[in-house]
Symmetry: C2
Subunit: 142 residues, 2 copies
DNA sequence: AACTACATTATAATAATTCTAAACTATTGA
DNA sequence: TCAATAGTTTAGAATTATTATAATGTAGTT
C-alpha cells in the first residue's frame, strides 16, 4: 500500500506542489488495489464523507483537471450528462450499463484490437476509445 | 429533394404532431444530400438565421431529444463539454479532429468491424461506438 | 523568518439544460 | 364547421455543472 510520501514524490515529479488537498485526492484515487471510475461529485463525497476532510469544489475540479492533463486520469464521456474519470490510464475500452449507469472496463478477452486502416491526412491518432452500451435483455430502454 | 409533406408523414408515423417548428427542424436536418453533425446551438442558429424562423430554445431541445428517442438522431459525446448530434443514425464510427473541433464520419475503408468477444452476462449490446481523436502531427496538444 | 509563487477557498459568474405555467394549435368527432 | 381536448410552444425562471475572481493561505526558497 502506497504511502503519502510516495504521492508527494509523484506530484513533485509532475511539477505539482504536494498540497494537503492534492495528497488527499491521491490517497482516495490511487491508494487502492484496483483502478476505478468516478465523477467529480463522487470524489467530493469520498473526501468529505469518508476522509472527513474539508475541500472546496473548485479545488476538486482544478486538481482533477490537473491530473488529467498530466496523464494521471482519463475522462470517459458517455453522453452530454454523464462523464466519468478513470484512474486506469492505459489504453482500454468500456462497457456502459445503461440500467445501472455503471462503467465497466473491457479487458483483452472482451474485445479484439481495433484496426484502423485509414486516418485523416496529416493527423496523428491521439486516442481510440470504444464504448459499448449495454442494457438488460428483457427491457427496451434507450 | 424531400417535400414538407414527406416530413409531415414521417412525423406522424412516429406519433409526433407535425407542428411548424418540427417541420422546420426536419427541413434543416434532413433535407440535404449528406448527413451531418451539429450542436443544439448550431441548429438554433440555422433556423433563426438561415430560415428566418423564430423558435424557442426549449423547443429545439425538446424536438432534438424527441427525434433522438425515436431514432432520427444519434448523440456523439466527445467530452463533458462537447456533444454533437448526427443525422446519420446507421452504425458507424467517428474521427474527432481536436485542432478544429470537427467530427468526421468513418467509412468502411477507414476501420475494420469491431469484434466483441465477450459481453456482460444478461445484457444485450445496444450500441458500439468508436471515437478516434486525432490532431495535427507537429503539435502536442491534448 | 521572510519572501515569492502558487494553491485554496467561498462566492460570484457563466453556461447548458430543464422546468413551469400560460398561451397556442393540431386533431378528433359531434 | 366548430368546439373540445390533448399535445406543443413559448418566455422566463430554476437548476445544474463548471469556471472565474480575488482574498487568504501555504509550500518552497533564501
Amino acid at each position: 500500500m502506497a504511502k503519502n510520501c510516495d504521492f508527494i514524490e509523484k506530484l513533485r515529479e509532475l511539477g505539482l506542489r504536494p498540497t494537503k488537498q492534492r495528497v488527499n485526492i491521491c490517497e482516495v484515487l490511487f491508494n487502492r488495489e484496483k483502478t476505478f471510475h468516478f465523477t467529480i461529485n463522487d470524489l467530493v463525497k469520498m473526501i468529505s464523507e469518508k476522509m472527513n476532510q474539508k475541500i472546496s469544489l473548485a479545488t476538486v475540479y482544478n486538481t482533477v483537471h490537473a491530473f488529467e492533463k498530466k496523464g494521471y486520469l482519463k475522462e470517459i464521456s458517455i453522453d452530454s450528462h454523464k462523464s466519468y474519470f478513470d484512474t486506469n490510464t492505459s489504453a482500454h475500452h468500456h462497457f456502459f450499463d445503461e440500467d445501472t449507469n455503471e462503467l465497466i472496463d473491457c479487458d483483452e478477452n472482451d474485445i479484439d484490437p481495433v484496426n484502423i486502416k485509414k486516418n485523416i491526412t496529416g493527423k496523428k491518432i491521439n486516442s481510440v476509445e470504444v464504448l459499448i452500451k449495454v442494457a438488460s435483455d428483457n427491457q427496451n430502454q434507450k
